[in-house]
Assembly symmetry: C2
Homo-oligomer: 344 residues x 2
DNA sequence: ATCGAGAATGACAGCGCTGTCAAACCCTAA
DNA sequence: TTAGGGTTTGACAGCGCTGTCATTCTCGAT
């Protein structure tokens, strides 16, 4: 166990083989005798050898870096993606470089593309992960294609598109949540929509309508309120939904947790007991969901897993050169007190 | 504007100078004639030249990478540090690599050190940022010193310690918050302490006691409750503090926002109106503070700035080789409805 | 015993840049 | 005019690794 950084040359010398052979062993290349492999490995371990990324990169013109490009107001979401991505990177000997983007102007495709181009020009990476809403930006995607940098889209809204992507089935999740509510005996269910420009908004609403239609339940238009994913908009929607104290929906399904929190807070102010008099559920399973009283029934997205899979698609050599595919990851219904009727 | 990646050689050839001169210009080294500098810069811009980090790193044995090492349950805090750190990195041509740490066992210095050693062995970085509680781990710090990797501590608890550090004055912040409460006319103020093992806990409490003492107000021991920074512990503390409906403190100062949120929720359940019958304030200015009703009066920490400064200390050449110093950054009292008496 | 195909190994150049050091140049003082 | 000092520039090696291609070895088939 020497003090200083060991190089391949050191290992080669001590193991009595050539540098190239050491390189082969360390990179799991074929055509190395088992015995040689063992010896090299032993010496490397003894020397605590670890490769110099810069040298590797220079020689192989790879960077062993993956960029996580985001422009997302939700630090929570990004943090989870990042956690998954980092774990995957570690598994494959890569490193993650987060690249927040200040998009100059939403809608201006060309300038978005230019921003990305500039970013990746400085730091050449082996792959890029695009989080929503960037995963829906044609400008950014085009720039990436032009630079021939492999990329994976996280939760893009367009259905099949020929790119590598990981997402979850928002429609199905909303459907199952609604079915759960229906199974609990609810017949009149209020729905709060999300921000009109966010792609999940339409999908979640679609799932809700599906389930209602399947159960032959009517969706009353005055019981569907437009929100924008903010707590405030949840409050406003709840006030509309609950204005008539004696006749209001017996359940409210908000398109995200923040809005559901708004509903709970209004209900509490109006003296409507949750869940006895009103079931509430949200979507996303943010930390808020567990902090609230009562705790929120919600949908847990596989955010961590999306990050993990995105990196895996990018760097796993066994996955390499597979055709692009959109992968759906499993969500989970998390049933908590806000929508649980105990007496059943 | 060629299509492919330009190298220094290309620039040198076209500008009619040697590679070394180009290198000098690009790195702002002295002793280059103004005319030469201009010409090189022009050619570089025309070619859209950008240096190959790997090659630079290999030749100069620097990595142009800074690691953000954390083991912090609060994604929000990390995200802000990270944002500041990334912005600073961009300014100086560096990149940030987040390295979450799964500390094997709190308290076991040696294994912590080993974990860090292993981590940085794989990816040699030019500097490390340690966030709390890692910034208080002697094992980790020792490992870094032994590896001769420059590092900056974020919000370490030990006062002056001879290391580079950025922090804020928790004592002063708690003091000012308490003074604000006192100025509002409160004489009986409850306090909820944070997690006993977190360094901020003692400091915030100290600030509170200071201010109370200065105002010649008594701190009743039954009005100081031990919490642990969780919402749940805030609820418990509030229940104790508010048990006697007719005689309870007129204000409660919780050591963080989560616990303050717990207080608000208990008050609302007990029918105690905030802030009319009870002022509540928190600490940290988390997103929660604005979501709650009423919004929380709290202390905004310069988290982003800490991240920014940490990187600056590490990589700014003009700051280099300065003696280690602990830098205090400015906090901000954010007064919102939860502790504002309008009728005054 | 001999041949040859494939497995195992090694020599060597070179990835794009910077550090070192020597060369060339410019100006001022005598 | 020339010497001497600083300024500006360039030649070249080499950072630690991998890709290419040549060489050597191994062993079953003949």
């Amino acid at each position: 166990m020497r003090a200083m950084k060991a190089t391949i040359t050191d290992v080669a010398k001590i193991a009595g083989v050539s540098m190239k052979t050491v390189s082969r062993v360390l990179n799991n290349e074929p055509n190395v005798a088992a015995k040689t492999r063992e010896k090299v490995l032993a010496v490397a371990a003894d020397l605590r050898y670890s490769p110099n990324l810069a040298a590797k990169g220079l020689a192989s013109s790879k960077s062993y870096l993956v960029a996580l490009v985001y422009d997302n107001p939700s630090p929570y979401y990004i943090a989870k993606i990042q956690a998954g991505a980092i774990d995957a990177c570690r598994k494959f000997g890569y490193h993650l470089v987060p690249e927040p983007l200040q998009l100059p102007d939403v809608g201006d495709e060309e300038s978005q593309a230019e921003t990305v181009r500039h970013l990746l020009h400085r730091l050449p990476v082996d792959g890029v992960i695009l989080t929503p809403p960037l995963s829906d930006s044609p400008g950014v995607i085009k720039a990436l294609e032009a630079m021939k940098i492999p990329f994976v889209l996280i939760a893009p809204s367009g259905r099949e598109n020929g790119f590598n992507a990981v997402k979850m089935d928002d429609i199905q999740a909303a459907r199952e949540m609604t079915e759960f509510l229906i199974a609990q005996g609810h017949k009149s269910i209020g729905f709060i929509k999300g921000h009109p420009e966010h792609s999940a908004t339409a999908l979640r609403y679609e799932g809700f309508r599906d389930a209602m239609a399947n159960a032959r339940l009517t969706v009353h238009s005055h019981e569907v309120i437009q929100g924008d994913f903010s707590f405030r908009s949840g409050v406003n929607a709840a006030e509309a939904l609950l204005s008539d104290k004696d006749s209001h929906p017996s359940a409210i399904f908000a398109s995200n947790d923040d809005m559901a929190a708004g509903v709970v807070s209004v209900a509490s102010r109006l003296g409507i007991i949750v869940p006895d008099e009103l079931s509430v559920c949200g979507f996303d399973d943010t930390p808020l969901a567990k902090i609230l009283f009562p705790q929120l029934t919600t949908v847990q997205q596989p955010i961590y897993e999306m990050g993990f899979h995105a990196v895996k698609t990018l760097v796993d050599p066994t996955q390499k050169s597979k055709p692009a595919e959109t992968r759906n990851l499993e969500f989970k219904l998390v049933v908590r007190d806000s929508a649980l009727i105990q007496s059943r």
